[in-house]
Subunit: 240 residues, 2 copies
């Protein structure tokens, strides 16, 4: 590690897909629309993100829960599915009962044992995040739960990423920003974070000219990455 | 028409998919990757637009030809296709030999006969647009060919849409902005243009809280819309 690599002082996590497994949403979609659930969940997610991008580009912020519902309505129409009020409510409610990925709780606890402050920085509304943190059994593990709602701009806008350093009181480089979304890991890298892409789905890298600081397939590999950085940091401190 | 509806003074067109038929790109993709061409063309387009959004959000502009190639590389990897240099070059070159949609040339000429200045406002680079205009036989039909390259921001950023009124010397409301992309028609509507969505593919409306001023399936319907607006404008002038 070059001697000018900054010490890691905190870790920020994206929420949906990174900490919280959204698989159950797809499973319910498949129950409701047999044979079309996967396509619905994929297009829903795509439109949710696309609408967040477009609204931010055009300065037309709207809370993420509503943007999420807009994406669902479009996706169902595009696929020719009859989304009645009941199905719509069931699918939206699924966002309130997500599970954590299996390794996450143990990793979060170990990171806290290292003395690292932990935070969430998400497109989700404060209410969505509060419910998700509780339903995943993660209450009390985070020093900050940051919603982009405070700045009215979705990631990858710099105002959104700027919430992290402001809350944690350190530079972006001293913070590991963790996301399972390739574009989010790249946006964080552009902003100046040390970045970790949890590539759970074995996706190809986004072609955006930069790569995250590190990539792994689970949060266990994040723990290894951080432990190596902490060890290298204290070794170079001893040398100095 | 309410008496405060402004007179239409000019028409601006999006380029790819609106004036120029990108079907041939999909057809070549299918030749190169039988059974996968449609999926490749769709994902390529999706990533091209997504990268343009993300780069603009993060202030990382890169010319659209390069963004287009980045989208192609990602899409091929995601679909597990072996995109060698030859296939890559062939697909990219296809952007230089697009055809106009069948009705377009006649409609553009009729709009010029109405005395309306015409312009293109596109994410494409000036070079891409120059080649496309020539290869579609549209040389000499446009008063302005505007590339967002001048402002380094892709649609739906207001700086991109702002190029139109600046070049044409009228208000956004006095200009009909025409796009086959639902999100582009909405972005133009937000900016203040009178907007026309050419919904060629019978897509569901984007769920973004506003609707374009008008929608049709071909440019023939655009001509009808404009003729009605011009007639109503001169009628109300006579009354006044």
């Amino acid at each position: 590690m070059p001697s000018n690599t900054p010490r890691i002082r905190a870790v920020i996590f994206d929420a949906f897909g990174t900490l919280f497994d959204v698989y159950s949403v797809g499973a319910l979609a498949e129950q409701l629309f047999p044979g079309k659930g996967e396509a619905l969940a994929a297009l829903w997610r795509q439109k949710q993100i696309e609408y967040a991008f477009i609204r931010t580009l055009s300065g037309r912020y709207k809370p993420f829960l509503a943007v999420t519902e807009d994406g669902l309505v479009f996706a169902a129409r595009k696929l020719g599915l009859d989304l009645d009020d009941g199905a719509r409510r069931q699918l939206m409610n699924q966002y309130a009962c997500l599970s954590p990925f299996p390794e996450n709780l143990a990793v979060l606890r170990k990171l806290r044992e290292r003395g690292l402050p932990l935070a969430i920085l998400s497109n989700g509304t404060p209410e969505m995040l509060d419910v998700a943190v509780r339903s995943a059994g993660m209450h009390g593990l985070f020093d900050h739960v940051l919603s982009v709602e405070r700045v009215g701009a979705y990631k990858t806008h710099p105002d959104a990423y700027g919430l992290g350093p402001a809350a944690l009181g350190c530079t972006p480089q001293e913070i590991v920003f963790v996301s399972s979304n390739g574009w989010d890991a790249i946006g964080a890298t552009w902003f100046g974070y040390t970045s970790f892409w949890v590539n759970r789905g074995n996706q190809p890298p986004e072609q955006l000219d930069v790569t995250p600081s590190a990539t792994g397939t689970t949060l266990d590999e994040l723990l290894d990455f951080i432990d190596r950085r902490l060890a290298a940091g204290s070794a170079s401190q001893k040398v100095a």
